[in-house]
């Protein structure tokens, strides 16, 4: 509770006064949420010079990391000269004119593998982020609408909420390891485990939002107009309470990239020889001890830069959107 208030977010703090003993589930979810929220803009920090050029620069800067990452994903085949999954040269070559990032211990080109690694990471992140958000909004809506109603269905809602609270208490990587371990290593298992870990935040965020939206008058009006509660859930409730979950999406995206790499790093991620950063880093460590630093360092750099880039863009884009509106508005007026 404390945490969400520090960033001036409204969803939780206005719903309930400071409880004496916030549960950990709530706190953890607030932590997730707090990082998802753009930090309160420092007055004058971004919009100091109000010149058009300056605004354009801010907007471009906000989108630049995302654009670069997407471009690398799309043009990976054009940017690299070798196949990322086959031996293309002598093993253990240091970076040179032909193999820009050198070759690894079986002679695969580290440069191509690192570039294609972006693709793998982003593919997983898109699937998991969209899946988690959609499922999270649906489950959160169900819980929010049913838990305080009457009848059997309210118990279902309450039990689901309790289960979600307990799952939030499980550290993500532990849950992911166990799920992948029991399902066997496959893309499906990885997506399931990452989604199970990352779906909890949108569930919580949507549920809290629903609890507020539920009191709005237009729902009563819709009910009187004869809309079924199922219909009004999709037409009125979800569109009005989807905001926090959507703002949380970039955070899921970044977390998914980190978690996928962590799973790959400990050896239970995407199957080899798929070019995945975490796996490449862990394979490259032993070479690094022998002085062949390039195998581990380049994927690490890419992982580091992309996660930081995603995190930066997710904070900067919400700040840039008003600027875009301003610029667009000015052009419209002329």
């Amino acid at each position: 509770m404390e945490i969400s208030m520090t960033q001036g977010s409204v969803a939780l703090s206005s719903a309930t006064p400071i409880p004496a003993k916030p549960t950990h589930a709530q706190l953890k979810h607030n932590q997730l949420k707090h990082t998802a929220q753009p930090p309160a803009a420092q007055p004058g920090a971004t919009i100091r010079g109000s010149g058009t050029a300056r605004k354009m620069l801010t907007i471009i800067g906000a989108f630049l990391p995302v654009i670069i990452i997407v471009a690398i994903c799309l043009f990976a085949p054009a940017l690299s000269h070798f196949s990322p999954t086959t031996t293309v040269g002598a093993a253990r070559l240091s970076p040179n004119a032909k193999f820009w990032f050198g070759t690894d211990s079986v002679g695969m080109d580290v440069y191509s593998r690192t570039l294609y690694g972006t693709r793998i990471a982003i593919q997983f992140a898109i699937v998991v982020a969209v899946l988690s958000t959609v499922l999270g909004v649906l489950i959160g809506t169900f819980i929010g609408l049913t838990e305080s109603s009457k009848g059997v269905i309210s118990n279902v809602g309450r039990v689901l909420n309790k289960i979600s609270e307990y799952i939030i208490a499980i550290p993500g990587i532990i849950l992911a390891i166990v799920v992948v371990g029991l399902m066997g290593s496959s893309n499906f298992a990885l997506i399931t485990s990452l989604t199970l870990v990352l779906v909890q935040a949108p569930i919580k965020l949507t549920r809290v939002e629903i609890l507020q939206v539920k009191r709005e008058n237009y729902l009563e009006a819709a009910q009187m107009a004869g809309e079924s509660s199922f219909e009004s859930a999709f037409v009125h409730v979800i569109p009005n309470s989807i905001g926090p979950a959507l703002r949380n999406l970039p955070l899921i995206f970044g977390n998914c990239v980190i978690n996928l790499a962590a799973l790959g790093f400990i050896g239970i991620g995407v199957n080899a020889p798929t070019p995945e950063w975490g796996y490449m880093i862990s394979k490259g460590i032993s070479s690094m001890m022998l002085g062949r630093w390039w195998e581990a360092v380049f994927p690490s750099l890419f992982l580091f830069a992309s996660v930081l880039g995603i995190s930066y863009s997710s904070k900067a884009i919400p700040k840039a959107i008003p600027l875009i509106r301003q610029l667009a508005g000015r052009r419209g007026n002329q």
């Binding site: 707090h34 166990v178 977390n255 980190i258 962590a262 001890m289």
Partner: protein
């Protein structure tokens, strides 16, 4: 009766702890069984031979997956009540013993890493409110904004690269001692070395801890720092602080008061990260060649050791809940307004 009322806040929390752990264990039991996929088949397939129906049944029984789910549940509850979470199908040892024998070394590493992060965050927080230097303050704020966006093993790879490969200041990151075996008394490596008087080994371990502890410090400080800075910014503007200044309270006491009021969310995040790192330290541990609880999980994944995975899940979360319990107590102690019932009396 009066004593009881006064100490209600922590007594109630103690009673809640086992209930939470029990509820979680039940959820974990069903969660691991509801997952798509068949661990029995996976473990048989991992041996690379065909199998008969009888073999399948025997394997299911040894993994605790024989019979109906209610039969399994009854067995699980019966075992869990006496602290028996099944037997590892790989080593044949009880899962509880396997996990508990590895837990101390992980706890030690995480405590050192996060302890360093906490001290560093407090130091930067102090600089943040003490200094009027704009560049320094915005640098601290930028560092804090890195929270949750850096994987710890990437920082560790860079630090190994710098201090071992390039500068050659530190020894190869291959375990806690370069040769010989660690003494085992309590399971906490550094403590055991002190207890048995192995000063040479202790020195080695401390030097080998520099990189992992340093990487954890650099990675997790921003998480604590964002909370601390947020709290400091808020509490600095509170009327309480203004009143203290107006009343001529000493500077030192004003700082202590502001820090005390800002710390609660830092403590919460500290607890969350600590709990998460019990399993999450696996990347650091495998990178630096330390054995730990995470290594057990990875081994169990490779061999589809169902009882070990289930036990690992339950015990590590039970430990997390214990950490959360401590966090609640520390927070209620730091800030009496957080004790249950107190807020109502104020209204």
């Amino acid at each position: 009766m009066n004593w009881f009322k006064k100490n209600m806040w922590w007594l109630r929390r103690i009673v809640e702890l086992p209930i939470d752990i029990a509820a979680f264990s039940i959820i974990a039991f069903f969660l691991v069984r509801l997952l798509p996929g068949d661990p029995v088949q996976l473990s048989l397939a991992s041996r690379g031979e065909g199998y008969t129906h009888a073999q399948y049944e025997a394997q299911a029984e040894s993994m605790g997956l024989g019979g109906s789910i209610w039969h399994q549940f009854a067995n699980f509850v019966k075992g869990a009540l006496v602290g028996n979470l099944g037997t590892s199908t790989v080593s044949g040892k009880p899962v509880t013993q396997e996990v508990l024998s590895r837990l101390p070394s992980t706890i030690e590493l995480v405590t050192l890493g996060l302890g360093a992060a906490l001290i560093f965050a407090l130091l930067l927080g102090f600089l943040y409110i003490r200094s009027s230097n704009r560049t320094l303050r915005s640098a601290i704020r930028t560092y804090a904004s890195f929270a949750t966006s850096i994987p710890v093993f990437v920082v560790a790879v860079f630090s190994i690269m710098l201090f071992y490969v390039i500068l050659k200041w530190l020894p190869a990151p291959l375990g806690r001692v370069s040769s010989g075996t660690l003494p085992v008394v309590t399971g906490f490596p550094i403590l055991d070395e002190m207890l048995t008087g192995n000063w040479a080994q202790l020195g080695e371990t401390l030097v080998l801890y520099i990189l992992p502890v340093g990487s954890m410090m650099l990675t997790y400080t921003p998480n604590l720092l964002t909370q601390l800075i947020g709290g400091l910014d808020r509490e600095l503007a509170e009327t309480t602080t203004q009143f203290q200044v107006a009343a001529g309270v000493g500077r030192k006491w004003i700082y202590i008061s502001i820090f005390r009021r800002s710390l609660s969310s830092v403590v919460v995040v500290f607890g969350l990260i600590f709990g998460g790192l019990i399993g999450g330290a696996v990347t650091v541990e495998s990178l630096f060649g330390f054995g730990g609880i995470g290594a057990l999980a990875v081994r169990s994944v490779a061999s589809v050791d169902f009882p070990a995975l289930q036990g690992f899940l339950i015990l590590s979360v039970a430990f997390c809940m214990f950490v959360f319990f401590l966090v609640d107590l520390v927070n209620m102690w730091l800030d009496p307004r957080r004790r249950p019932g107190v807020a109502n009396q104020e209204d």
